[in-house]
């Protein structure tokens, strides 16, 4: 049974949705169409000579090793960030849900990192792991592990993944905690009386009831990892060493703003847009089926 609200007036409902539509038009549709237009042009930085080149920018991108490498780096990066941010947040939320005394303090501490700007968070991690002056790098050296993310691509990727995930944990934590607290106690108690162990209770009762939250967070986290992690990469590695952390959104910035290759950069952002839209559509089609509302 669906509930429908019927408006008597014809204009009023449009007025209600207007602000959202105007914002979408100005901040999404218009720039996106500009990018689409720019992506089929080859233009010098000043816009003095502009030439229609068809799909030449796209063929250039897809025959460029650096771009293909960037796609696989982005896949590893985004999946890892989402997985780490979500699993850690779920663990923390499940534990915080059971805390009775000082719950506020725990929650505040865990939510805190979200207030830190991505670039500031990145600089913080950068200092901890700096091979020359970083305290973590120093202790790793004492333990006999050589940390040098300026040359070791794997370490660099790990570092940006941790830095990007760290901040997102707070956000996920909030939603998981809210989701957990919305689950009626009686369900869990009933399962407990039936003799289900805490682990069993979690996976068979709590987790399925949490699935709408999980689904929502998967979508949000993937979008976050694709777009909002620019500051982290910019501040820690600048895409290096040897392109090991050169994620797509950083490459768009680099080629567009530093190298002033507007056509190529626009083509890349069009591809990025297509990837994220199709990922989101896929998630809605396939994962949402498994969600119980």
């Amino acid at each position: 049974m669906e509930k429908r609200v019927v408006f008597r007036q014809k204009v009023l409902p449009y007025l209600f949705v207007a602000p959202q539509i105007i914002i979408t038009l100005i901040f999404f549709i218009w720039p996106a169409s500009q990018a689409l237009y720019q992506s089929v042009l080859q233009e010098d930085a000043f816009g003095l000579s502009s030439r229609f080149v068809g799909l030449a920018n796209f063929t250039y991108i897809f025959t460029d090793d650096a771009y293909l490498n960037s796609i696989s780096v982005t896949a590893i990066f985004s999946f890892s960030v989402a997985a780490i941010a979500m699993s850690t947040a779920l663990l923390l939320a499940a534990m915080a849900d059971r805390v009775i005394r000082g719950a506020m303090t725990y929650k505040t501490l865990i939510i805190w990192p979200y207030a830190v700007a991505p670039v500031v968070a990145a600089v913080l991690w950068y200092f901890l792991f700096n091979p020359t002056v970083g305290i973590v790098a120093f202790y790793l050296k004492i333990l006999g592990y050589k940390w040098n993310h300026t040359l070791n691509g794997g370490q660099a990727l790990l570092l940006v993944i941790i830095a990007a995930a760290w901040r997102e944990i707070s956000y996920n934590f909030l939603f998981f905690l809210a989701g957990l607290q919305a689950i009626p106690r009686s369900f869990i108690e009933a399962a407990a009386i039936d003799g289900a162990s805490p682990a069993k209770r979690f996976w068979t009762v709590v987790f399925p009831l949490l699935s709408p939250t999980v689904f929502f967070l998967i979508v949000v986290n993937i979008v976050y990892a694709f777009f909002d992690t620019f500051g982290v990469v910019h501040a820690i590695t600048e895409g290096g060493p040897n392109q090991a952390t050169n994620i797509l959104v950083f490459k768009v910035y680099h080629d567009g703003f530093l190298s002033l290759d507007l056509g190529g950069s626009a083509a890349q952002s069009v591809i990025l847009m297509v990837i994220v839209i199709s990922l989101t559509v896929m998630q809605f089609r396939y994962i949402e089926r498994k969600v119980h509302y």
Binding site: Q42, T132, T150, E238, P241, N242, L258
Partner: protein
């Protein structure tokens, strides 16, 4: 009623004053990329000029990093409201040059103003970077520096090395580094700006080309050549030296500076403009000497090239405004202003007069490190290979070089393979630039 009349009257009065003052003093917009203390110095220069005359007022505005400033200038041009003067870093030179309708060459600005202007008064290695092959100045050099070798005097003494005899050649650097490591230092030497110092300046210093067509000065159909045997030898040697801790990679840009100031290494190649920074962070005495070279290379040592930025005049303003720009440039090039800028910042003076003035003031006796850069830049008359470089999309090539050098130092590629790949990727970008700027 009465109040609104009064308001109207005041508004008209304010407008009238604003209009009349705008007519009396012409504003010249100058967008630059110097924050912090350097930014204050830039403002002081503008103030000095504004007080020296009353026809023009230079308004200096900080626009962020070099790329930010350049992007801001380009965006302003596209929306038809460019500043008069835009500071652009040296790797943006080719992009600015190619933008013929967007800029007004400095030689034109100066000639039209009727003010005295002698291109020969400027240091050739500084202006060479910003002039056409037939010697016409396109932009006004502002802050220029060149790489030198910094060394820790205390460390040299500890390792039994003579601080008065810094290493002159790369084999000597290796020898010194081994002694420093034996004396307990974690590594011998490291570097900042590796592409600028160990590829671009390395080429000029050894008088070998970075690319064909006179390093791109001769035309857009240029190709990179920095995978020559000499380049491969040098980069391969750096990679090999990592095993014995003679060399250690410090990261991109000048992130490795902490390696020198924290005494992880005792020798370090970095821009001459890093002098003031090291003066503040290093707790030990240090000195500078000329960049090392390979003694078996026939052309070495030649002269090094500059980094930094220059001031471009943007198109689309009135002749009166250009006269103001020319007046400001004349003030900026005067020996007193230049000498002060040079001594305060560590950037090179742009005129020979400013150099002699600084020397006459005894500045180099108190700051011996500051003269190394100048001596090194003026060691010989610049050749085709050591005048500078002019390649399109060069910002991207710098990052390609960072990436490939990192692959080489991590042992993933041989020096030959890495440099070949960098040159191939760079040539693709050159072709792209050529077709976009036809």
């Amino acid at each position: 009623m009465k109040t609104s009349r009064l308001l109207l009257f005041t508004a008209v009065l304010v407008l009238a004053i604003a209009v009349s003052s705008a007519q009396a003093v012409m504003e010249i917009q100058w967008w630059h990329a110097h924050g912090g203390r350097l930014g204050e110095k830039v403002n002081a220069i503008a103030d000095g000029f504004n007080k020296s005359q009353n026809a023009y007022k230079v308004v200096a505005t900080y626009k962020g990093s070099y790329p930010d400033t350049m992007t801001a200038g380009i965006a302003a041009f596209r929306s038809k409201n460019p500043p008069h003067i835009l500071q652009v870093f040296e790797v943006g030179t080719a992009s600015m040059m190619a933008a013929k309708g967007a800029i007004k060459p400095v030689y034109e600005v100066m000639a039209e103003s009727g003010l005295p202007f002698d291109p020969k008064a400027y240091l050739p290695t500084v202006t060479g970077y910003y002039t056409t092959p037939d010697g016409r100045m396109l932009s006004m050099p502002f802050n220029s520096s060149t790489p030198v070798l910094y060394y820790n005097v205390e460390a040299f003494e500890k390792a039994g090395l003579d601080p008065d005899k810094p290493p002159k050649t790369w084999p000597e650097v290796a020898e010194y580094a081994k002694k420093l490591v034996a004396a307990g230092y974690p590594a011998g030497f490291s570097t900042a700006w590796i592409s600028w110092i160990h590829i671009e300046n390395f080429s000029a210093w050894h008088n070998v080309p970075i690319g064909t067509k006179a390093n791109g000065f001769g035309g857009l159909d240029t190709e990179y050549t920095y995978n020559s045997p000499l380049h491969v030898k040098h980069i391969g040697q750096l990679a090999d030296w990592q095993k014995e801790k003679i060399f250690i990679y410090g990261g991109r840009r000048n992130l490795g500076n902490a390696k020198f100031s924290s005494e992880e290494v005792a020798m370090y190649t970095e821009s001459s403009a890093g002098y003031a920074g090291f003066k503040k962070t290093c707790k030990f005495p240090f000195r500078t000497s000329m960049l090392p070279y390979w003694p078996d290379a026939p052309g070495a040592p030649q002269n090094t090239i500059i980094g930094g930025a220059s001031l471009w005049v943007m198109a689309g303003h009135s002749p009166e405004e250009y006269k103001g720009v020319a007046t400001f440039f004349t003030y900026l090039s005067s020996p007193a202003v230049q000498a002060d800028w040079h001594q305060f910042t560590g950037y090179l003076p742009i005129t020979t007069d400013a150099y002699h003035l600084t020397k006459g003031q005894g500045f180099y006796e108190d700051n011996p490190g500051m003269e190394t850069a100048l001596k090194q830049m003026t060691l010989h008359e610049p050749t085709e290979n050591s005048k500078g470089l002019r390649f399109g999309n060069y910002v991207q090539v710098r990052s390609i070089n960072y990436g490939e050098l990192e692959a080489i130092f991590a042992g993933k590629k041989s020096a030959k393979q890495g440099l070949d790949d960098a040159v191939a990727a760079g040539n693709k970008l050159l072709r792209k630039f050529e077709s976009a700027n036809r």
